[in-house]
């Protein structure tokens, strides 16, 4: 058990830090410190490409696909330095962190060559189609259909809560490819180009008024027959593995955003004097402790991939961030009600509102507790009703 880094790793840190600082003080200074997931999409696409050309986009991947075969420690270091330098949220998070590793694990050699370099280069942005209307947290209840029609899959149905679909070039979906199948059986994992007549995207306006999420309608959407990951009927297994990658190094990238938010709250408390309030101090300390424990939980997950910490991570960060949003508003007080657009206070007010979704999407807290109890503790499964498959 060791938390420190070697001299070689520290040298890597210096190199990464120098490059990031240079870019974010120079050509991409406008993106430094950005926190919004929806702002400046075009500039963030350019940033993805800059990371790609410099070889900093997907450093853990094999060199042949655009990575640099970085060790786990180097990936951890890069995530830390990215945060310290104020790097913006990755526009291609879904590509880099989710579909990329899944293609590495399940893809054919042709699929790897076709898709991975384009992700690493930042030229193809991805989004995810898992949830469906009426299914909510019940992921196995997929109704979107896929049928093989000659050399193409034809997809009909609807996905919802698709994050950032408006900026994406590709979408991956789980669809029912065996008519009449139920639950997790008979599903396939397909990758489709977004820009086609069979796909329509409609933004969902949230509690903030913004639209990060979308409904995606598939009406005879097509994709080449070989744009399937795994075999037909393997979709559930691939989809579950992909969700596992959510708990990889990408958690450190996510935590970098959390760190920025907490720092903004501390700054606000410093400015308005709430940092002297004993109650606020306790809550700031809780937030700091919680964030540190996310970091060390992530390092445990990375050091021991099947650790119990992995099962508990979603509810941990979601609950933490929701509490952070409430803390932000309590620090701001009434001025949070009237935060000026574009101000840091407005960012925090947005955090407050947006974080209500954190405990819902990607498996609500209730679903997470079921999963923890059933898979982590071996307790009896929730009885499934009979009125509906």
């Amino acid at each position: 058990m060791r938390l420190g880094f070697t001299a070689a790793e520290e040298a890597f840190r210096a190199e990464a830090s120098a490059w990031l600082e240079g870019e974010l003080a120079g050509p991409f200074a406008d993106l430094k410190g950005l926190t919004s997931l929806t702002d400046a999409p075009e500039r963030r696409r350019e940033w993805e490409q800059r990371l790609g050309t410099a070889g900093w986009s997907c450093i853990g991947w094999p060199k042949m696909f655009g990575g640099r075969d970085a060790t786990l420690a180097e990936q951890v270091i890069f995530a830390e330095e990215y945060a310290r330098a104020g790097g913006p949220p990755r526009l291609n998070h879904m590509g880099v962190e989710l579909i990329g590793p899944t293609i590495l694990a399940f893809g054919s050699d042709e699929q790897k060559v076709r898709f991975l370099p384009a992700i690493a280069a930042g030229t193809e942005i991805w989004c995810q189609g898992y949830s469906e209307p009426g299914a909510g947290s019940d992921l196995a209840n997929v109704r979107t259909k896929a049928a093989l029609d000659g050399s193409e899959w034809r997809v009909d149905g609807q996905k919802i809560w698709t994050s950032l679909a408006q900026f994406a070039d590709w979408i991956f979906v789980v669809a029912r490819s065996e008519p009449g199948s139920r639950g997790p059986k008979g599903l396939s994992f397909l990758m489709l180009p977004v820009d086609q007549p069979g796909i329509t995207i409609r933004p969902i306006h949230q509690i903030t008024g913004d639209a990060e999420f979308n409904e995606v309608f598939f009406d005879g959407a097509t994709t080449a027959a070989d744009n399937m990951l795994g075999a037909a009927g393997d979709g559930w297994r691939v989809a579950m593995a992909l969700l596992g990658f959510e708990r990889g190094v990408s958690t450190l990238a996510q935590q970098m955003g959390f760190r920025n938010e907490l720092t903004a709250i501390v700054r606000a408390a410093n400015e308005n004097g709430r940092d002297r309030d004993a109650l606020i101090r306790q809550r700031l300390a809780r937030a700091e402790i919680g964030l540190q424990l996310m970091r060390y939980g992530a390092l445990r997950m990375l050091s021991t991939p099947d650790s119990a910490a992995a099962l508990t991570y979603k509810i941990q960060w979601a609950s933490w961030r929701q509490a952070l949003g409430e803390l932000a508003m309590d620090v701001l007080g009434q001025s949070g009600e009237v935060a000026e657009a574009g101000s840091e206070a407005a960012m925090l007010a947005n955090l407050f509102l947006y974080s209500r979704a954190d405990t819902i999407y990607g498996g609500s807290n209730e679903i997470q507790r079921n999963i923890i109890a059933e898979r982590g503790l071996g307790l009896p499964r929730e009885p499934r009703g009979t009125s509906n498959a």
């Binding site: 306006h205 509690i207 309590d330 009600e337 657009a341 819902i360 499934r384 009979t386």
Partner: protein
């Protein structure tokens, strides 16, 4: 000792609920949110035909001469529909201050117009900066302003009012600056005490109404919505969170009407009651709003669903006239005079 509505109070409650249910629809509230946070037609009907803006103002000045219990009943009904109208600002804050601290002339001058809704008043406490945030300030015709040790009436034309985009757009705030305006002084101690305590209880009542409405709506949703082949209301996690909402709401109900009675009866524990009600009911509302969004799932945090209207109003209620922490600290100061 009878801690339940009289027949007359029950009738007022029914009337107010019926009025808001019919008039303060989601569509109208959303239209009002885009237009200064006031549904003018609703306000006219509320203050005019219904005569509710003056429910707790003296009969001699155009009010109904009823008490804080009746005002709380009306505020609770308005809260149940997150109605966009300046009842709090005009009647409970400014109106109460003038009724309690105004001269005979001032009462005659201002209260009938406030009671009839023909003039809208607001209230603002200003710090050393000489400015403050007034609820519904951008639609106010006059202000009661607490500044330094004094409380004054000032015409809207004589102050700088800046409408501010507000998270809770059903009760937007405006920044008000007092210049060298013409002002009329009120007797500050009773004026401020009345505005603060009646305003706090009205906010607590608004919170109670909102929380109960969220419980009702979420129960209905949980009975209808099917996941994993069962209505989600059959899952214990959902049932128990709804039960917790009810537990909090029933306590909030006790708190609101305890405080309202304490004001009306001039009880010695009025300060304790008011601080308790403001702290407890506002926290309960927030918790219920958070639970309602959670239990609605994805739809609960969309703009088109009404849950966020309640959630934002709940947060606004917590920050207006002192936060729950501040009101609890005030309770502690009453309990612990030595260490206060």
């Amino acid at each position: 000792m009878h801690f339940a509505f009289t027949d007359e109070q029950a009738m007022i409650a029914e009337t107010a609920r019926g009025f808001f249910a019919g008039a303060a629809t989601s569509e109208r509230t959303r239209a009002a949110m885009a237009g200064g946070g006031i549904d003018r037609a609703l306000w006219t009907a509320f203050a005019g035909e219904m005569g509710l803006a003056g429910v707790a103002l003296p009969e001699a000045y155009g009010g109904s001469g009823l008490g804080m219990v009746e005002a709380a009943i009306v505020a609770e009904a308005a809260g149940a529909l997150v109605a966009a109208l300046p009842f709090l600002a005009s009647s409970l804050l400014a109106g109460s201050a003038i009724a309690a601290g105004g001269s005979e002339t001032q009462r005659e001058t201002y209260l009938p117009a406030i009671a009839s809704g023909t003039r809208i008043a607001s209230f603002v406490e200003m710090g050393a900066s000489g400015e403050g945030l007034a609820p519904h300030g951008a639609v106010a015709d006059l202000f009661v302003v607490a500044i330094g040790g004094g409380v004054v009436i000032v015409d809207a034309a004589d102050v700088a009012v800046e409408a501010l985009p507000t998270m809770d757009a059903t009760r937007p705030l405006a920044r008000v600056r007092l210049g060298s305006a013409a002002i009329e002084p009120l007797d500050p101690v009773p004026a401020l005490r009345a505005a603060r305590s009646r305003g706090a209880v009205a906010l607590a009542a608004d919170s109670l109404g909102g929380a109960q409405a969220l419980l009702d709506r979420t129960v209905a949703f949980a009975q209808d919505r099917v996941q994993f082949g069962r209505p989600i209301g059959s899952f214990q996690a959902v049932k128990h969170r709804l039960a917790d909402m009810m537990v909090a709401i029933e306590q909030a109900r006790s708190a609101v009407y305890w405080a309202a009675c304490a004001i009306d009866e001039g009880s010695p524990d009025v300060a304790l009651a008011v601080h308790s009600a403001k702290a407890f009911a506002c926290d309960a509302y927030f918790d219920c709003a958070a639970a309602a969004i959670q239990l609605h799932g994805g739809i609960g945090f969309t703009w088109e669903h009404d849950a966020h209207l309640f959630f934002k109003r709940a947060q606004a209620n917590r920050t207006l006239l002192g936060t729950p922490d501040q009101h609890r600290e005030a309770v502690a100061a009453l309990m612990l005079p030595r260490a206060a």
